[in-house]
Chain length 398, copies 2
């Protein structure tokens, strides 16, 4: 028996595993060294008080027979689906709670969702991109069309750039806005072009909105459903990881509109069938904690945490400005995407920062070939570490 | 674009959804009626003290910057992988912690694991079976060979019964022991025949050991790895759902031995790659709670809960004995598998119990065609409800 040979087509090492290996080696060689970690994009602030209190309450529920919760609805608890639908309302988007699916997080959904598309699909991915987009599609045996984002298109590729003569139309189009890793954001007008294109070509957009809470400028959609026509062509995948510090607590949500159909099949119904077959839902305790994020107190508290990360972004931007380094992002996204100085390769620059100033970032090449020569900083570190890293960057690059 | 048309081959309604619909309809027509639920197999006892305390401690960890946990290892936290490996040791099985993968539960893994097998596989499923085995394989487009378990083979089909002339050898063989729904258990000698068969034919066994904690007789393997040769042919999928009441809290584990290879590909490495691509691991809080299950106190407390369910089984068995109903299971498994009286169909018997004595069970037909004429009782209800249901069954069937 031959297992899934698509695994052989994956590159040897996943980006963040590679970073972990190099930093481990540095620490082995330099015991006790302090590293300024702005690589993997993990948050540093604890969960907010509203979430913590609700998590404790939910644990108590599980301790008593009268309040104990067994199997949860596979698609998510009503209380959380309703809270998420109400949150969308604040962005002017009306959803029925049954269009909202509670998940263990965006990374889980971005791969799992491919199951409803079936085999031999053509998938368009704007690179540089979150590596799991590409890897999940390689495992699924799909054909990946890479659409390069760069300075020439403001890191925002548009439909007319798709090399359709070579591949035909794409079945699936991944869009991440605010973008990881470049920090670029699609305006409403630009996103609308993608929506129209998808509806015309029968494609489905997988819209990764994991960073929507970091948007500060007006006129940038937080949800693709703010725009007409999205409900017939888009699935939106969100996460509380960065919004509310859930990277290690795990909860997210996926929106599949009831109007989304292809080939006479309804995607919402298919995903209900998928979830009821393949999961038993997300932990009651975690769903209770997630629901607290959407309360008035929860929203206030997560905004305070996001403000800390935004201040980190400012500190880093000022440092890069001071030494005349070209960079993108930072304003509506928690990432800075800088050009490596002196035409250095991105892994070369990674090694330089690690070895000379103990700063850990992410080599742009890890997000796709067109990311070579760029470098990503996460703004999720502690203010103290970020300030020190900014100082060191200024000294090294000045 | 045409999505995954395999979804069209699924039966309309998932078994437990069908039960839920019928019971809802009954309650709508009879407001305030109390139902004796022995259908879906959800637990009724709360989490044990050891788990609750550890969950609270873990929530507190997430409230402070100094103890906060962000991204967890995708394959599971070391502390939990080591605790599970140590638990296997108590059954005489030596595992390396890196052969243990922490999961959100068995139902999640039973479907997801198919990803490493790839396309167009032939899958052997002993029926009656947990419906998700079949449905997940239909979604994947695999060919399902159904091997009937019945009174004639003691509900334990053996390799020589496989209709190989029709389908060729199976690539994947599902074995659930103790069995859901029949309660049948494979002896070491019988299971060894399946191991030898799988190794000879290059198949892989997916061994569902979700109910191992309910085994009370000696000589019945708790883990397939108690037997020689299993490490080169078997994946074992376990869950804390029934063992420790985690149906709504969600945690399980999957064992993939380092020695398991097919077609020159190593399944453990493939699953590491799958998890690192498609998940960000299980919640830190939940993993801490799960680890408490494997402490001395945790083991003592979960044994007390299992004893309650075993007492329920006794009460039900005595009732069925008293009215001369033929049944199986109950001893080493938390399920009773009874023959419907008077040649009734299993949904007909379902309706009769619901309408006449307000007892909800599971129609055997929902576990596959050969389950027609049988009926499953779960023993996870409260002792009070189980006693009353037993009394009503005796009255109705006596």
């Amino acid at each position: 028996m031959t297992p899934n040979t698509n695994y052989r087509n994956l590159k040897d090492s996943y980006l963040f595993a590679g970073i972990a290996k190099k930093t481990r080696a540095y620490l082995d060689a330099n015991p006790g060294a302090h590293l300024y970690r702005m690589g993997i994009g993990d948050v540093s602030l604890p969960l907010c008080g509203a979430v913590i209190e609700e998590l404790h309450r939910a644990v108590d529920d599980q301790a008593q027979k009268s309040t104990f919760h067994g199997y949860m609805p596979e698609v998510g608890a009503d209380f959380l689906r309703e809270a998420i639908a109400a949150y969308y309302k604040t962005h002017g988007v009306t959803l029925s709670p049954d269009e909202v699916f509670v998940s263990s997080g965006a990374s889980d959904e971005l791969g799992d969702i491919l199951d409803i598309f079936g085999r031999d699909k053509t998938v368009m991915i704007m690179e540089p991109a979150y590596p799991a987009y590409v890897d999940a599609n390689i495992i699924a045996g799909n054909t990946v069309i890479r659409l390069a984002a760069g300075e020439e298109n403001g890191f925002l590729p548009m439909p007319h750039e798709i090399p359709t003569e070579k591949y035909g139309a794409a079945d699936i189009i991944y869009i991440c806005s605010p973008n990881n890793p470049t920090g670029a954001v699609f305006s409403a007008a630009a996103l609308k072009q993608w929506i129209d294109y998808a509806n015309e070509t029968d494609a489905v957009i997988i819209f990764d909105a994991a960073y929507e809470a970091f948007i500060e400028e007006d006129g940038i959609p937080h949800s693709i459903y703010e725009l007409d026509g999205a409900d017939t062509c888009a699935i939106e995948i969100c996460s509380l990881s960065k919004t509310a510090g859930f990277t290690g607590t795990r909860c997210g949500y996926t929106v599949i509109p009831n109007a989304l159909e292809r080939g006479g099949m309804n995607f919402n119904r298919m995903w209900v069938r998928n979830r009821t077959t393949k999961t038993n839902g997300v932990s009651y305790i975690i769903q209770r904690g997630a629901a607290a994020v959407f309360t008035e107190r929860g929203q206030k508290e997560i905004r305070e945490a996001i403000a800390v990360y935004k201040q980190n972004a400012k500190v880093l931007m000022e440092a890069l400005d001071a030494v005349n380094i070209t960079y993108f992002g930072g304003k509506n996204a928690p990432y800075l995407w800088m050009k490596c100085p002196d035409n250095m390769g991105s892994w070369e620059f990674f090694d330089k920062l690690l070895n000379q100033i103990q700063v850990v970032g992410t080599p742009g090449e890890g997000f796709g070939a067109c990311g070579e020569g760029y470098f990503r900083f996460s703004t999720f570190g502690s203010p103290e570490d970020t300030a020190e890293a900014a100082k060191r960057l200024k000294m090294l690059l000045g």
